[in-house]
């Protein structure tokens, strides 16, 4: 009987196939999915790992006897038993048929449809609609097959059921709401029976079928989008700023997102007179003008002098923010995503705010801090529910505009240069909210 170690990231449905098969066969599998044994993205890139598994992907299985195998279906096959593999050549061929069917027919449309609802892929209406039709086509095939059958091959659970169930997991969890799945009752009967077998249950837990079709999760998508940070590190702040400017432009060219989130809808529906700052007297400080100077001219010799010359401390306020949980910051690129995610969620605030937020330090020893300029004397976040997601993760301190501290912070943060004595960690990279 097979015994060994399965490397994977946590909750990987591909790894589930091997784990469920092992429940049936009794194979002893140790799962390494979290540090210190396994860190996805690191462990599987080490030379040691690549020597055993040249593709560098997970799940990957290493037997107690040193036998190594990658690709989830192969691992499931290895840890299975004769019953699961198919007892005759014909049955084994049919098992292989459905395992391949899961990969080639179910997965592509399932991914296209489900990933945007999880916020891990951009939503494309045409692609999603096409994927829905493809999923229907697959379900029709399965439904006809299962009308006269309890399981896909023979009268017992095989790798065919395990592979096809696992490839349908996300569909049944996220989008196959009762009305949609109603015509495919035979598929649902079979699916529910499978996921409720003790062997499946011990791997999957209690599985709940989708009640309402999930839609594109734009917020999460924005949060999880990695920006290509690594190449920028070597560049000077000035160059980075330029890059950012380009990105801004690109974003504008792309036009508005198809789906406005709730907050945006509210703001869009509101007449102009309901400007949240309407009650404030007109200010002499023109934010747009400052941003133009900051973006296009030298910061030290033009933008900073312009800022202090025109800043209106009655109509605007300057704040210092520091991330409250620096211990949770590990990889610097992830921290950067945290910052850009926050900026994206605050999109509607751009007209009336400006910020320079920087990441200091290195991997596992970093801190996020920033200097923010807001209209009025209060923090803007309470004006809209969507803006409140991040601000509670920061401590906010209003700066005395006339103080030396404020002048220094503004200078250092706007320039991305200086001692940053308040932090005690060297500048790593910065982001401008404008």
């Amino acid at each position: 009987m097979a015994a060994g170690t399965l490397y994977t990231y946590p909750e990987n449905w591909r790894a589930f196939k091997a784990l469920i098969a092992a429940q049936y066969s009794g194979a002893q599998i140790t799962v390494h999915s979290v540090p210190p044994h396994f860190q996805f993205g690191q462990t599987n890139k080490t030379p040691e790992f690549l020597k055993k598994f040249p593709v560098g992907k997970v799940p990957a299985f290493e037997g107690a006897d040193g036998f190594c195998v990658f690709e989830s279906n192969a691992i499931a096959y290895y840890v299975a038993n004769e019953d699961l593999r198919g007892n005759t050549v014909a049955a084994a061929a049919q098992v292989l048929q459905w395992v391949s069917f899961a990969d080639s027919e179910i997965l592509p449309p399932a991914s296209t449809w489900v990933f945007p609802t999880l916020g891990i892929m951009q939503y494309n209406k045409q692609a999603t609609e096409h994927a829905k039709e493809e999923v229907k086509r697959v379900l029709v095939i399965l439904d006809a097959h299962l009308k006269t059958r309890t399981f896909l091959v023979g009268e017992r659970v095989t790798l065919a059921d395990i592979a096809v169930v696992c490839s349908l997991l996300w569909l049944y969890k996220q989008v196959l709401e009762p009305a949609f799945r109603q015509p495919y009752g035979n598929v649902t009967r079979w699916f529910v029976t499978c996921v409720n077998q003790p062997q499946f249950q011990s791997v999957l837990g209690d599985f709940k079928l989708c009640e309402k079709m999930a839609q594109f999760d734009a917020k999460k998508f924005a949060e999880t989008q990695p920006k290509k940070e690594t190449s920028k590190k070597e560049k000077t702040p000035k160059e980075m700023k330029k890059e950012e400017k380009k990105q801004e432009k690109k974003k504008e060219e792309e036009g508005p997102n198809e789906e406005l989130d709730e907050c945006e809808q509210v703001l869009a529906a509101e007449p102009k007179s309901k400007d949240p700052y309407a009650h404030l007297p007109k200010s002499s400080f023109i934010m747009d003008e400052f941003k133009r100077k900051y973006s296009n001219e030298d910061t030290l010799t033009v933008a900073l002098p312009y800022f202090w010359e025109h800043f209106d401390k009655e109509g605007w306020s300057i704040w210092y923010a520091e991330y409250r949980f620096p211990k949770e910051l590990t990889q610097t690129f992830m921290s950067c995503n945290l910052i850009t995610g926050m900026f994206q969620r605050l999109d509607k605030l751009r007209k009336t705010a400006f910020a320079s937020v920087i990441l200091s330090g290195t991997n596992n020893d970093s801190i996020i801090s920033g200097v923010w300029v807001f209209r009025g004397q209060e923090l803007a976040f309470t004006l809209c529910e969507d803006w409140q997601i991040d601000y509670e993760s920061y401590t906010w301190r209003k700066l005395d505009v006339d103080s030396e501290e404020c002048k220094t912070l503004v200078k250092e943060y706007f320039l991305w240069e200086g001692d940053f004595k308040n932090l005690g960690k060297p500048f790593n990279q910065g982001k401008i909210f404008k």
Binding site: T148, T150, R189, V192, T193
Partner: protein
Amino acid sequence: MAVAVLTELSALENTLGLPRSNKFSALAGERPVPVLQTNDGPRLVGLATIASHLVKQARKEQLLGASSEERAAVQQWLEYRVTRIDGRPSREEADGVLRELSAYLQDRVYLAGNRLTLADILAYHGLHPLMVALPVHEKERYVNVSRWFSHVQQYPGVKQHLPAIVFLKNRLYARGP
């Protein structure tokens, strides 16, 4: 010929892996009722009662249902077996049973819960004479019963002495209900 219900209880003992140590007898009558005299307790009367007792004797309580709802459902189908399936049902009554079961099994693999229980085993034994006589197009008409029956008869240990019944997985007739 031995009384069918006693043969069934012996088969159940085999299915459960019990040694043949129980002595069954039958109360005579229009429909024979099985009786089991236990060593240390009262006389047990009736198929459902004795079958449940055998399951406990074999320490296979999961066959009586995993949750309280499932246990209730198992008992419900044991009662159904005795009241609706047994006792030479007429043609119309048999059709009624198959119709009911086929509707019930449309979104279920097993009669109670998601695993084989005693309800499936006894219903299988009870329906066997009926299914043997069923023509192909009728098997197709009650497709959910056929699928369930085909699955249960191939479940290890369930079939025992009963002959396997053939079910076609591909449908011959255009459209059943």
